[in-house]
Amino acid sequence: MSPNYVAKRLVMIVYTLFIVSLIVFAITQVLPADAAVMMLGENATQEALAALRENMGLNAPVWQQYASWLGHVLRGDLGTSLRTGQPVGPVMLEALGRSLLLAFLSIGLMLVLAIPLGIIAAVRRGKIADMIVSLISYAGVALPEFVTATVAVLVFADLMKWLPPTGYVPLTENFTSGIAHLVLPVCVISVILIAHVSRMVRSELVDVLHTDYIRAARLKGISRGTVLRRHALRNALLPTITIVALDVGYLLGGVIVVEEIFAIPGIGRQLIVAIQARDLPAIQAGVLIMAATYSIVNFIADILYAWLDKRIQYD
């Protein structure tokens, strides 16, 4: 892995964020409502509105507004919320922290379950174990998060009373209660990921098990278990890194719904509130932060992949 490759990937992140900033700005431009009306209310006088528009730079040409907004963003100033009057950057980043906790726990649970399931299905291809794993994965893709979340709350919180239904308790405040509040959201987010990743692991491993070097290793007299551990898994699990990184997109989408249902004050919930209130600076900041998170995760995954797989020589 050359420093050149890392540099190239870093340039790609900058390009990604530039395109996202254009999209976000363009979307907020088509908004029929006027930011000045939104801040002062419907009953504001024409003079007050005109003064505020001038003050906010809304009379400038669109590209100038974009340049000025981008300039502030580059200096770390993501703007002020129209709804609360607070700076949106710190609020969104604090919310992102809670979402990342949720996301990391979900990815952890997914890895612990999906990889063994995929391996079992591939090794016992066509047997009952394989069919059970496929059934689980079809069940996983069958229901959107809001349905699984609603059913999970009904069964485990309302009927069985094992877990709290909704809400969020910071882990630093009360660790046990915090974890108890996270169990259902984490399980709900993991379901679709487990379904997807276990299928991918299975198909990768099935392909690898049919290659010549695996057959050669078996013919040398190495036991099945050793061939699986030392040769097959190494090659089959590498692509999983990329798949998991790409799934972060789904994950972030799922986080939005799950945070809304379980009332977790993460970035997804902040975004829904911002979108409903048409709070432009908050929407822009939230989308930018989400896209940046996705890009950085994929960057790390690519670097990790190139580092683990010595065959890949990027220039």
Partner: protein, 274 residues
């Protein structure tokens, strides 16, 4: 063709997928005719009924027949999802094929831009478009189509790249055909099979995306019989009768599993090697 259908029906995925999708198709086409009750008539005396010969799947919080609502809501849910997927696929297929045909710097630029667009989660993208354009069904359709286009473009490009190297494309270039002719007449027809597989699977994502938009209050509006909306409304009453929540969920699951299985079956039938 008959040979292909035979191969499709031989795998369990293909057979079950075809059955479920046909079932959904029948409901979409004939649903309103088959529905025993009006989906929006309120019957205060017949609320929260369990399944019975009169109400096959019971009634909801307003005494409306759940079975009739599901039959009629199929159009709102499934047809929109299929249309949005087709629209997104056409846009994506065109971008992907063009990018593969142009190659070089243009290809690099187009693909990096596609990657950038994909860094916004599709649900978030759809939420933004629907909220800013106004929550109507047409806007939801546009939103989902735009959200799907980048992914389809990426897949089409990887298939088209291998087609680009084929002799018949080189022959067309040598004949001096225009780029538009080569992309539309020589390349697109040969990248269609894998795209159809991907498209079939994506219909189930689209169903979920539409249902999620309605659930969040940005898609269909009450008293429409859209399935996602039915789940959303059922949340407040699920303690009184679980059926209100379960049946629309089952309907969503049937569509999602059906299209997923059909997609997997098509993939196996088109690729006899695996």
């Amino acid at each position: 063709m008959t040979d292909f259908v035979k191969r499709l029906l031989r795998t369990p995925q293909g057979a079950i997928g075809v059955f479920l999708v046909l079932l959904v198709l029948v409901v979409v086409l004939l649903g309103p005719m088959l529905a025993p009750y009006d989906p929006e008539t309120l019957s205060p005396l017949a609320r929260y009924k369990g399944p019975s010969p009169a109400y096959w799947l019971g009634t909801d919080q307003y005494g409306r027949d759940i079975f009739s609502r599901l039959l009629i809501g199929a159009r709102a849910t499934v047809v929109m999802a299929v249309l949005a997927t087709i629209a997104g696929t056409l846009i994506g297929a065109f971008i992907g094929t063009t990018s593969a045909f142009l190659g070089g710097r243009a290809d690099e630029l187009i693909m990096r831009t596609i990657d950038a667009v994909m860094s916004i989660p599709s649900l978030l993208f759809a939420l933004l478009v629907v909220n800013l354009l106004g929550s109507s069904t047409v806007n939801a359709l546009i939103a989902v189509a735009i959200a799907f286009a980048p992914g389809m473009a990426r897949i089409t490009r990887s298939v088209a790249l291998s087609v680009r190297k084929q002799d018949y494309v080189n022959a067309a270039v040598a004949r001096g055909e225009s780029s538009g002719y080569i992309i539309l007449r020589e390349m697109l027809p040969n990248v269609i099979a894998p795209i159809i597989v991907e498209m079939t699977i994506r219909v189930s994502f689209a169903v979920m995306l539409f249902a999620t938009l309605s659930f969040l209050g940005l898609g269909a509006q009450p008293p429409a019989a859209e399935w996602g909306l039915m789940v959303s409304e059922a949340r407040r009453y699920m303690h009184l009768s679980a059926g209100i929540l379960i049946w629309p969920s089952v309907a969503i699951a049937i569509v999602a599993v059906g299209f997923n299985l059909l997609g997997d079956g098509l993939r196996d039938a088109l690729n006899p090697r695996t």
